[in-house]
Amino acid sequence: MPMTPLPYRVTDKRWETADTATLTMAPVDRVVEAPKPGQFLMLWAFGVGEVPISISGRPSGDLLEHTIRAAGPATTTLTDAPVGDVVGVRGPFGTEWEVERAHGGDLLIVAGGIGLAPLRLAIHSALEHRDRFRSVALLVGARSPDDLVFRSELDAWLDRTDVQVEITVDYAPGGGDHRWTGDVGLVTELVRQADVSPASTVALVCGPEVMMRYTAQALLDRGVPARSIRLSAERNMRCAIGHCGHCQLGGRFICLDGPVFDHPDLAPLLAVRER
């Protein structure tokens, strides 16, 4: 039945920041269809509620990784769940990043805050098939160094010579011996530093909606074609199958037509002021 979750057991939990954890989970019995980068699943905290969370990793086999920020009763229950607890999983739903659109050209990934989580599987896929792209650049922004997610992975990617990684934060403690030697500034300001040829670049952008709007504008200003800019939208979701109506944005259902959209399809909808 489309609204029935499958039981998955939490096999690992890593705290990324003070309020965000990545859960690794394995099927107890039946397995969901393998999620693609950009898609999301509905995670159910027994008796509490269900939330849409993007797939953030597929370590191996049928294991799923989801990075969840504790912001309400359901997400808090999920991030509080100890290893061994069972949660409900339904899905996958929605559209994909379609990383392959960048094959033969440049791939530019811009992540703001927890927006790095829905992009993580796309990054893994690109690095696994690095030779299919010319340049690969990753721009990451967060509020402060303590709010960066996947720190150890970011460090590993920084060490690679085949991908450009630029990280910036809105503010950072400084002082004589700097703990933070990355940039300080808005993530949109990193766009000019990306070592890509805009006309043959596909850009994947994910983060707070305001950040995506301004990042998209910075990309367009640099000459990236609008159809080559993909964004991931977010709205309240209750069913994920186009029946509850909550996630509607203009004539689109975020759960069916998104969450990943080409810029020209999403931008006019985001521009409508809901005042």
Partner: protein, 154 residues
């Protein structure tokens, strides 16, 4: 060995400026280097130079007694450092420290202001570039005030 004029002509900030103007301005400039950790300028010091960053990274900081120094912006190669030299009281508002070994052309502020007065067309071209930069930085800074990411410590 490149001349000051060559270094300025290569730099993004001066793109499109007439070669004669670049030559004229270079008379105010000299090469400077700051090793990692060195102070470029300190808050309340007289703002006597305009820095054209060629290599490295500089952090703009505000010193807060109970929180230490907070980095409010970083600037790197291809960017310029310093706005307080343009208008009285000609005093730096923030601290600037080199994060990594940094090479720059330091243009003497008084010299620059005098040359702009002497040649208003040059003055206008310089201030136009400056204004565009400031608008961009102001917009980005304003967006950071929105605290888009949420969460964490308020």
């Amino acid at each position: 060995m490149k001349s000051i004029a060559d270094l300025l002509a290569d730099h993004e900030f001066f793109a499109g400026l007439e070669p004669a103007h670049v030559e004229f301005l270079s008379g105010c400039g000299q090469n400077v280097r700051f090793p990692a950790g060195a102070t470029v300028f300190s808050e309340a010091d007289p703002a006597e130079h305009f820095y054209v960053l060629r290599e490295g990274k500089v952090a703009l900081e505000v010193h807060v007694p109970d929180a230490g120094a907070i980095v409010i912006a970083t600037l790197g190669a291809g960017e310029v450092l310093g706005a307080s030299w343009l208008f009285p009281p000609f005093r730096w508002q923030f601290d600037a420290l080199a994060v990594t070994d940094t090479a720059a052309v330091a243009l003497d502020a008084a010299c620059l202001r005098q040359k702009c007065d002497a040649d208003p067309r040059l003055g206008y071209a310089l201030v136009q570039r400056f204004a565009a930069l400031l608008v961009e930085r102001l917009q980005a800074t304003r967006l950071r005030l929105v605290d888009l990411y949420g969460g964490g410590e308020p």
